[in-house]
């Protein structure tokens, strides 16, 4: 793969076809755990790991899987991987596991993962599928982190609090900007507002870019972008 190909794929996963922002997949964990940056990062890492591993396994076994039974097999593979990730979290990041609670096992139900298995990994070679898992997982993880940081900043007046859950050590308060904050941001409605805002910002950036391109190349007409 050429280096420009890799950059293009990252652009696709992180921006043009971001699983959370554009495909709107995996909204349940996205909305539920993003009350702080560290929660978003933790679930992002877990989802990324499952996505890479499941893409790899689905792609490696794709020649033996008959299409009639592919869905049960994807479910089997994803569920086992999620259980492994859950055990690993319990062993090495117990505090984060407590904080994320049920949402680690619920990665099984994240449709972004089964979607990548069906759309990409079942039709492409292993290396390419791992790369796809990496970019799509990163796109999802970055969105979780961005929304987590935004809600934490607004709702608690801090940023990167409790990073000790991930890296160990004494409880950390992170960067504290104010004592307390706008309560709504960490309540469930805040999650919807934040996601809506993120989607709106992305769409407006896309539109501005498109308009600029049209001005630069008049007569080229509107290019269909997502």
């Amino acid at each position: 793969m050429t280096s420009s190909g890799i950059i293009d794929r990252f652009k696709t996963g992180l921006w043009h076809d971001n699983p959370g922002l554009v495909q709107l997949l995996g909204l349940c964990p996205l909305l539920a755990v993003t009350s702080s940056f560290v929660n978003g990062l933790g679930l992002g890492i877990a989802t990324l790991a499952v996505l890479i591993a499941s893409n790899c396994l689905v792609s490696a076994t794709r020649r033996w899987i008959q299409s009639e039974i592919r869905i049960p097999i994807y479910v089997l593979i994803i569920a086992s991987l999620v259980t492994c990730v859950e055990l690993i979290f319990k062993a090495w990041f117990p505090a984060l596991d407590r904080s994320l609670g049920i949402f680690i096992p619920l990665i099984v139900t994240n449709c972004a993962i089964v979607a990548r298995a069906e759309v990409f990994a079942s039709r492409n070679p292993v290396g390419s599928s791992i790369a796809d898992g990496l970019v799509m997982g990163s796109g999802f993880a970055l969105l979780l982190m961005a929304i987590g940081a935004f809600r934490e900043l607004l709702g608690q007046g801090s940023l990167f609090a409790r990073m000790d859950m991930l890296i160990g050590g004494e409880p950390m308060r992170g960067l504290v900007f104010s004592d307390g904050g706008w309560l709504l941001a960490i309540l469930p409605p805040g999650a919807f507002f934040s996601l809506a805002l993120a989607i709106a910002v992305k769409n407006s950036i896309d539109r501005r870019r498109r308009e600029k391109r049209q001005q630069a190349m008049p007569g080229h007409g509107r290019r269909a972008t997502r």
């Binding site: 009639e68 089997l76 259980t83 055990l87 407590r98 709702g155 309540l187």
Partner: protein, 215 residues
Amino acid sequence: MTTTMFRSGVTLAVIAAVCTALVALTYRLTAERIVANEQAWLERSLQPALSGLFYDSGVTESKIIIPPPHELPGSEAAIVYRVYAEAAPVAALFVVSARDGYAGPIRILIGIDTMGVVTGIHVLEHRETPGLGDRVESTKSDWVKQFDGRSLLDPEPTGWAIKGDGGQFDQLTGASVTPRAIIKAIKETLLYFEAHSEEIFATVIPETDKEKTEQ
């Protein structure tokens, strides 16, 4: 047709076996650490009620479970850890649930020494409103510290209420239901301990149970 079904069945079986092996292997590799983490978490969560006490190790092994119905707060089983120093009783740590929180039960650790004095309170689990009721957590405010050193003599049982209700204890701005529930739970636990402390320290853990907890 039958061959396709047979092939599908075999494929599924093989993949199921591989996946199960993967999970089993991860479990073997992590089991020890997970048990150690849970033990460490339990010991750490009991710490707020043990600070300032001298005690023998093995507090977590002295656990007894008081099944409902009991006069303690909450309708589920209460857990008591007994603390000894050189085999003499020092304190009892209760894990009880206050029923009447704003959003579901509040799991509280209440430490009481043999004189009936509170050694420490720690909220273990709750679903109170973030930013309001959750300031009962010791990481968020010092509210629970005000109970340290208090007993049923200080104040008298009638004073075990928030100031707004004519009691002696501070409330939290914007949240009175949560403090009210916690104070009530502490008071009920103190009353229970006053009546049953001898029984609690006299309870011997049957050997079979001990083996179970060790496993």
